[in-house]
Symmetry: C2
């Protein structure tokens, strides 16, 4: 039975990391794109595949796997191709720590900062009632709150500033790591690099005051190296980017 | 160089999972208990080992490893002894998904519910100024907020209720998993069982209205099986339990 990946465009964060892991391994798969603007991930057809209503999901041998981080380790374990986890056990620990930090800490801060810029345009011309009807179907209470706050532009300013502080701290930690080694986990390219590209690399365009050639030169050089990889080029060729709305409050 | 584990009493959640993983593997280690009430984890001596000021930390060959989940996989990879991760790749994926869910979703809900009961007694006879001086040293803003809210008993009631809802949902998901297989990830005992014991099993005593022999019989039978394991008995013998304060609002 063919391998199928359910995902969102643009291919960033959770969808992008799994898509890229499959490309790096050279695994063939069928693309099943869901339309996020139509909230297709909350339709019964997809909830039958992933009851939590989140993308991505990888269907292998007819059974679905969810959760980006767990899928990525599965891909590395289940398929032939170049290893995406270091052979050195301490580097492997470092990879897992970075993956968690990038997703849980950095990803959450970025979500708070950027959803405020993205969500109103994403929701589009719907009435508040239509929006509320859609959001009420989001299974997780935290995510429902994040959607509503971003749509209504009601994220508390002190929490936004806290997220910007978290992002500044993260960019320094990442810069320090990349000053001591070529890849995030050390000498081996790994899932930590895939995650950093997916969750963080776009910050150099979206928040250039934080990630740029003066403040974070090693990170910028790492982004350039990443973008030259054949798998990343293939990912970019498959990615449709949204229009970038103007920054409103830094 | 001997293996050293820095941890808190009582041996639950993050400290307990790593302590138990070492016991299950049969690995010898030196115990380095930090005094949480004296906030020893925020003293310069410990911050030199883990700059984030969180326990546990495992020092192996003179270098420190942090983050419970990543340490546990490291322990299974680095040391001889019975495997703590399933050989079947889909069960291994399931293990990682459960570990993340137990820590991120269940753990956070439980923290919100139970910190409100624990923290005032934990802080003890300190003045508000002394408390604020200690908490200001907690590196993470979310954790600082959780400490303050719990100490001042200011957690918003709707967030407490949300956490109780999350806990009820989790207890049903766990019960369903344990109805189809003997262990959390399936047929193999794994780190997911270690995490569930560490983060969740005490709920049968702390929130018996949610986890009990009528509502969740499979979970209660699993707890009994877990408590009979030699490693868990050894863990219990090393654990000093705090006094349970009375429930105030269910």
């Amino acid at each position: 039975m063919p391998l199928e990946l359910y995902f969102f465009q643009p291919l960033g964060t959770n969808s992008g990391r799994v898509f890229l892991a499959l490309l790096e391994k050279g695994v063939e798969f069928n693309e099943r794109e869901l339309n996020g603007r139509e909230f297709e991930h909350l339709q019964p057809q997809y909830l039958a595949i992933n009851p939590r209503g989140q993308v991505p999901a990888l269907v292998h041998d007819g059974r679905a796997l969810a959760e980006g981080a767990a899928i990525c380790e599965y891909i590395d374990e289940a398929f032939e191709g170049p290893p995406l986890r270091p052979a050195d056990l301490r580097e492997r620990w470092s990879m897992r720590r970075w993956c968690r930090y990038i997703e849980n800490d950095v990803g959450r801060a970025l979500m708070m900062i950027h959803w405020n810029r993205i969500v109103p345009g994403f929701v589009g011309a719907r009435t508040p009632e239509e929006f509320e009807r859609l959001v009420a179907r989001v299974p997780d209470a935290d995510r429902r709150r994040a959607w509503r706050r971003a749509y209504l532009q009601q994220t508390p300013p002190e929490e936004l500033e806290e997220s910007r502080g978290r992002l500044r701290e993260a960019s320094q930690r990442i810069e320090t790591a990349l000053s001591g080694a070529p890849w995030m986990a050390g000498t081996s390219y790994s899932l930590a690099d895939i995650d950093l590209l997916s969750f963080f690399a776009f910050v150099s365009r979206w928040s250039p005051e934080i990630v740029n050639k003066t403040a974070t030169p090693r990170t910028m050089a790492w982004i350039e190296r990443m973008e030259e990889r054949p798998a990343v080029r293939a990912l970019r060729a498959r990615t449709r980017m949204p229009q970038l709305p103007p920054a409103t409050s830094g």
